[in-house]
Each structure stands twice: as C-alpha cells, then as structure tokens.
Amino acid sequence: MKRPLTLIVGLLSGLAVLVAMFVAPRGGSVLAVVLNWVIVVASVALLVAIASLVLTHLRFIVKGRKGFLLSIVLVLSFIATLALGLLLGVDDPFFLGFVGAIIRPIETALLGLVALVMMSAAMKIFRERGWSVLTVSFGVSAIIFLILGLGFLQNLKIPVLNEAIRFVEALPMIGARGLLIGIGIGLLMMAFRVLFGMEGSGND
C-alpha cells in the first residue's frame, strides 16, 4: 500500500524538474529553487547525521562498551576540529594545515592498501575462478596495459608500434561507452519507477 500524498508529491516534483530541464532557460528559476531545497535538506540531514554519530559514541563511552577508546578518540577529534574551526575559521591556514596533515597521510595509506589488495586479488582470481573467458581476458588486458604503463615500448619510437599502442589505448573507450549507456538506461528506468511510485519512500 502506498501513501497517496507521498506519491503525489514525488510525482509532481519529478515532473516539475523534468519540465524545467526541457524549457530551460525559462524553467531555470524553478529548477534552482528545487535544487536549493535539496541542498538545504541535505545539509540538515548531514548535521543530524553528525549529531547522531557523536551521541552514539558518547553512549558507547558511558556504557564502557568494547572499543570505547576509539569512541573517545573520535569524540575528542570532533570536538577539537569543531573548536578550532569556530575559533580560527575554516579559511585559517593553520587550521587547514592541521586538518590536512591528518587526513592526507591516512587516506593515502588506505589507497596504497587498496593497490595491494587489488594485486593480491588479481593473483588469486585464476585459482579461485579457474580458466574462463572473464579471467583470461582480464589477465591478458592487465598484462598488456601494465607493459604499456612501463613505457618501454613507447621509448622504442617505432612508428608502427606507436600506432598500435594508440589503438590499444583507445580500446577502453568501447567499454566506457557501453558502461555509460548502461548507466543512462538504468537511471532512466529508476526515474520512471520513482515517478510512478514504484520505488522509493512511497512504499509502506
């Protein structure tokens, strides 16, 4: 059973944005208003999420739940960042340097671990999946592009080889187009489902 009011509001909002896109630039004002509403609501939701996060970890600390030390670190970091931001301002170079000095190495290290995991997965895929079209094509393409990434072949400066390398490097565009077309069709279907109440919060 679907809520009629929610369904009607969702349907009308979607149709309004769609019409505004088609009648641009006249419909730009309507679109801007709707998008601003979305941004405000999203910002409020972000604040609520931050408050919920902090309260949850405060509850963990009070109850002494396992791993509450990490909760203490989170709460202290949040309080320190909030206090420095309020006191110094978000444009202060010290504040920006302080935050950047923490976040940058952490995220970089995580990305390096992702690279190692990907490499391990590439090694295991043949043992786990065996020999198949997918694994063989993956292995061959990975080897080719790794060799091209080394730059040895490019440094040979052989015209024919360079043409071949350019052709090979253009091959991913085929897959990317198919990927983008699939994404576009999926989004279109999802939009219709939301408009007609078959998807989203209209369901009970």
Partner: protein, 684 residues
C-alpha cells in the same frame, strides 16, 4: 528305565505324559489331581464330581440286585454321601443296604472302585512328598527346565542344519577357515560345552532314585541360593547352561561384575584378553557326576544333548583337565569343598565364548573337536595363545554369518580395539596454505618499492609521449590569452591528492605563466586544505582565494540555472558565463559526468577540461571523443611528472613490474596446479 506309557497320565493342561503318582505335571507344573477320576466315567468339573457321588449312592440304592424284598416298599431316607460315614459311625445299627455293600466289598476285589484307589494313591503321594520335602525344589527345577527348553528351542531354530554332521569329521567351513587363516584356529582355543542335564525331553517316569537325585541336586542349589538372590530367568538360563558358574561366582564374585550379555552382542570374534578370565566359568560337578553314575539325568542327557558336544567332552579329558584349572584357578584358587566334586566333571570342556555366543555353540564346539585332534604340543600352547590379544577386527569371511552381522561384528571389533586408546581426531589432509608464497611475494614487493624509493628519484624521460587527450588539453591551454578567466574546480579527496596535484600543478603553473586569471572553487570541504598544497606546488600566491560551494555540483547546477538565486552569493564565481575554460580536477568520473551532463547545457559554449586519475580516465574518453571535453590529463606521462622532484619514476616502474610479476605468478601457479591434477587423474 521302563517306558511303559500305558501307565502314564496325560496332563490336562499341556497334554504331556506324567507318572501316575505325579501330583503336578513335570512339563507345565499344572495340578494333576483331576486325573484321578473314576474309571469309566467321563472327566467333569468339580461340582459335577461332587454330584456324581450322590448319584452313585442313588444308583446303589436303586439297584434291584442290592435290594431285599422287604425293603422294596419302604424306602428309607438316605442322607447325603458325605454324611453317610458319620451316620454310620454314630449309629450302632447298620442298615441292611450298608451291610450288603460291605459284604460285597469284601467279596469283590475292586469293590472300593478307582475313585477310592486314586484318592489313596494321591494321599500316599502327598504324604511321601510332604515327608521328603522335595516339592519346592522340584517345582523350581521344573521351572528351570521349562526355561531351558524354551531357550534351546530358540537356539535350535537359529542353528544351521549341521547337527547331522559327523562330529569326528572336519566341517567344510572349518576347513575353509583353516585354509584362509591358519592362525585363526589357534586364536579360538576354548571349547564349548553345553550342559547336558536339562533338555527338552523328560524321562518317561520318575523313580525313587530319580527323585532322590533331584532332591540332592536341589539341596545343593539351595545352598548356593542361600548366599545370593535368585537370578532372573535369563541368568538362570546361563547358569543352567554352565552350572559351574555358580561355584565360580561365590568365591570370587566375578560374575557379578560381568556385564549382562545381550543376545545381540554375541559374536564370533575373539575377545580381548582381559575378557577371558571373567568369562571362564568352572564346571558344575553335578551334571557329570550324575552322568557317570548313570542316573536318570544321564538318560536325559543322552537323549537330548547334541552328540557332538558329548563326544567332544569325552574325547578331551586331558585338555580340559589342563585348561580349566589353569585359567579358572588363577582367579579362583580356593573352593576346596567344591573341588572334590569337581574332580570328576572338570573334564567337561567349558568355553568362555559360549556364554556370549549361544548361537555359535555348534561351530565353536566343532572347533573344539578339531583342536582335540591337534598334537599335544599345540594343545599345550593353546591357552597362552588364547590369552594373547587377537586381531578382533579380522572376521573370518567364511563363518556362518550374514553380511550385516559380519559388518556389525567388524565394527564392534574395531571399537573394542580402539577402546581406551588415545585417538586423535581424523585429520584432514592439510592443503598447502600458501602463506609462505604470499609472504615471499609481499616481501619482494616491499623490498622492491623501498629500494627503488631509497635509491632516489629517477627522472622521467622528457620526451615521453603524451596521450591524445593530454595533447588536446595542452593545446587548449596554449590558446588562452592573458587575462582570460579560468575556473579551477577542486573536487577530489586527500587519497588522490598526490596524483592529481602532480598532474594539475604543472598545468596551473603554465596557466599562471600565461597571465590568465585563475579562480578556484571547491565542492568538497576537504578541498579547502588540499588547495593549499596544490597552490604551493604550482607556485601560486598563498593568498589565492578558494571558494567553497556547498551541495557539490547540485549547487553549481542551481547557480548555472539561475545565478540570481545561486548559493554562491558574493563569491567570485557568480557568473559561469564569463569563464573561458573550466578545469575540473577530480578523482571521480561521476562528478565530471555531472558537470558535463547537468551544468554544461546551462552555460554553453563553455569549454571543459579535466585532470583526473588514470583509473578514471577511460570513462572520460567518450566525452573527449564527443567533444564535451576539450582535453584531459591522466596518468604520469600526461603530466610530464618526471620533472617534479617529489615523483619517483623508478618506484613507479618497479611497482608496475611487481604487479606484472604477481599476475604472471598467479597464472603460472594455476597452470601448474591444473597440470598436477591432470597427472594425478591420469595416474589414478
């Protein structure tokens, strides 16, 4: 012993023959008084028999031959039969009819009738029983006989028809066993001897000697029962089969600890060594002593016992004399009072397994017969060999067992062998975990990267060719004139900052050197502090303004759609139409797509270029191919990063080489595993 069945009485309950003087049926224990009926008269119930007395008297009274002419008219009143004697005794004068009866009774030999004679015989028998006190013991003995009979009937029903075989001849199945397992006959060294005393068939009649013998036997059993309670029926069966167990229980009390054997547990597998002493019973002196005395029990034995067993017992006196004292005597060295009686019947072979295997009595007995044929040396060695642990898991395949029974026996034997042992759980075959290989590869990777980094940055060749989008982007930048406005959108996270900043910084420096007006906008909160590093690497002034646009590119769409209500407000990025180029520095192809698909239509003919990671570059290639992107830079070669100090081109190449090696190792290891598997399959 005579077998005159004409003198026997039939039991009214079971129909079996009994002695004339028996008050109870020896087969079923039913009362035999009803048998003493008047000859020539049909058997009736008790009430009818009481009535028959008055009828008889009435007939006598009405018999014209007994009447005198004077008594014909006046017929005196006749009291009931039970009152006759009293009236006669009380009165001094006898009536005429009674006098005639007495007179006739004196004249005729059988005038007292069968009724009186039967009653007299019954009274005599009762008085005899009462005087001897045998009745109680006799009843108990009868009960045991009955149960024994039932058990042996059931055993016979399960036995294969090998009874008719010649006991002195080696059976076929035993020959096959010997052919298959020569040592198996050594393992089964004990003989089986069943008790020949109590069998189904009873002597045709009981004489005084027989009863006296039974009495003595019962008295002996009473002595045993006085020390322990009467065992249940199943135990009685075993005791009857092996009477010697009574006497082994009393001194040693070994049988009490022996678990009660269930018929399903019986098997023909030699048991563990520790079970042998408990299962060895001693011989009961009564049966064989009676057998030698040629008592009526001996007759019963000769008629009912399997001929093979008796002959085996008689043929192996020496063996039994050696075996029984040696084994049983270890646990039961005393019993001086009993040994005097045992001296005669120790010859009877008793096999411990027999108590556990009533089904296999005959085959094992046959084994005993075969063992009796062995030379004396082997017989002397048999007890020692029997005490050695045998291979219970090996079940002779030719024994007379069903397949299911044989399987169960094998399972039970294996369980018995493993009993008490410390057994570890079934360990699965450990497959190589590959931890060593993984560790080696990881170490190789780390060592390669560390060494390449420590050696120092290696400059990337300056003439490294760039990609087509990078060349297009370079051409687009070169077309910009002084004071042209360029919007630089910083939309990336800290993780990709190293790669993107290395690509974007040379471009920004080039733009700055051309005199263009750079405006910086970020849609990520992290873009504020990330811009500092980028500006520093590009050599831009530190006071360069970076605007933050909330709501990501949604806010930019709103601003592009209607700049008057744009959330950007008083920022420098108030009108997108004034920019000549929008340079998107993003680590997400989705954000670039959002700019190209959602914002670009509102601010045509604005040019868009991108700086992204090499991972996201293929997705942007179609937009470059369609002209929505004038160019983009992705990867190390596009940014010509070799000129930067912080970039180690050698480490980059080492990392790529290691990835290539690991990928090849994965393929090779898979191929090797497949080859090994195929080889194993071929071998199998």
């Amino acid at each position: 012993m005579t077998e005159d069945h004409s003198e026997l009485n039939l039991c009214p309950k079971c129909g079996m023959e009994n002695l004339p003087m028996a008050t109870r049926c020896v087969h079923c224990g039913a009362e035999m008084e009803s048998l003493f009926t008047i000859s020539g008269q049909a058997q009736r119930s008790d009430e009818e028999s009481e009535e028959s007395l008055s009828d008889i008297i009435e007939e006598i009274r009405n018999d014209p031959s007994l009447k005198t002419p004077a008594e014909v008219a006046p017929i005196p009143e006749i009291p009931p039969a039970d009152q006759i004697d009293e009236s006669v005794l009380n009165s001094q004068e006898l009536p005429d009819w009674l006098a005639k009866v007495r007179e006739r009774a004196q004249e005729e030999e059988d005038s007292i009738g069968d009724l009186a004679s039967g009653t007299i015989a019954m009274d005599a028998a009762r008085s005899e029983e009462a005087s001897t006190g045998v009745e109680g013991e006799f009843n108990a003995w009868i009960n045991r006989i009955r149960e024994k009979s039932q058990q042996e009937n059931s055993i016979r029903a399960r036995q294969l028809p090998t009874d008719s075989e010649d006991p002195g001849q080696v059976p076929d199945w035993l020959q096959r066993i010997r052919a298959l397992r020569p040592q198996s006959e050594e393992e089964i060294t004990h003989e089986v001897k069943t008790n020949p005393d109590y069998v189904d068939e009873m002597p045709p009649e009981w004489t005084d000697e027989t009863l006296e013998e039974l009495r003595r036997e019962a008295l002996a059993e009473d002595l045993e029962q006085a020390t322990e309670p009467l065992p249940p029926a199943s135990t009685i069966d075993e005791e009857e089969t092996f009477p010697s167990e009574h006497q082994t229980e009393e001194p040693g009390e070994l049988v009490e600890e022996e678990p009660e054997l269930i018929e399903e547990d019986f098997h023909n597998i030699p048991d563990e060594e520790e079970e042998i002493p408990e299962a060895i019973p001693e011989e009961d002196p009564a049966p064989l002593s009676e057998a030698e005395e040629e008592t009526p029990a001996d007759v019963v034995v000769e008629e009912t016992l399997e001929t093979e067993e008796i002959e085996a017992a008689e043929e192996e006196p020496d063996f039994q004399a050696e075996e029984v004292p040696e084994e049983a005597g270890q646990d039961l060295p005393q019993q001086d009072d009993v040994q005097s009686e045992e001296a005669e019947y120790k010859e009877a072979p008793v096999e411990p397994e027999t108590s556990e295997m009533p089904k296999q009595i005959e085959p094992v007995t046959s084994l005993a017969e075969e063992e009796s044929e062995l030379p004396p040396e082997e017989q002397d060695e048999e007890p020692e060999e029997a005490e050695q642990p045998t291979d219970s898991a090996a079940v002779p395949p030719d024994l007379l067992l069903l397949r299911d029974q044989q399987d169960r026996a094998s399972l039970l034997a294996s369980l018995i062998e493993e009993e008490g042992r410390v057994t570890a759980g079934k360990q699965a075959i450990r497959k190589p975990s590959g931890r060593a290989g993984r560790l080696a590869v990881t170490l190789l990777l780390l060592i390669g990267l560390i060494v390449s980094i420590l050696i120092g940055p290696a400059a990337m060749p300056a003439d490294t060719p760039k990609s087509m989008p990078a060349l297009a982007l370079s051409d687009q930048i070169q077309t910009l004139a002084e004071n042209d406005q360029v919007l630089v959108v910083l939309d990336y996270q800290a993780a990709a900052s190293r790669e993107l900043e290395a690509l974007a910084a040379p471009l920004l420096a080039q733009l700055h050197s051309q005199g263009t007006q750079l405006e910086f906008l970020t849609t990520q909160p992290s873009g504020l502090f990330l811009a500092q590093s980028l500006l520093a690497q590009a050599g831009l002034p530190e006071d360069t303004r970076v605007d933050y646009l909330p709501g990501s590119y949604l806010g930019m769409i709103s601003s592009a759609a209607n700049s008057t209500i744009s959330p950007v407000g008083d920022g420098v990025v108030k009108n997108l139409h004034s920019f000549q180029l929008v340079l998107l520095v993003s680590d997400s192809s989705d954000n670039v797509r959002g700019w190209l698909e959602q914002i670009a239509p509102w601010i045509e003919p604005l040019n868009f270029a991108a700086v992204t990671t090499q991972m996201e570059a293929p997705v942007l290639l179609p937009y470059f191919d369609s002209g929505q992107l004038v160019g983009y830079a992705a990867g190390i070669a596009d940014g010509n990063l070799g000129s930067q100090v912080a970039f180690s081109y050698r480490a980059y190449r080492v990392g790529l080489l290691l990835m290539l090696v690991m990928l090849l190792l994965g393929m090779i290891s898979k191929g090797e595993a497949d080859a090994i598997r195929r080889e194993e399959e071929r071998v199998e």
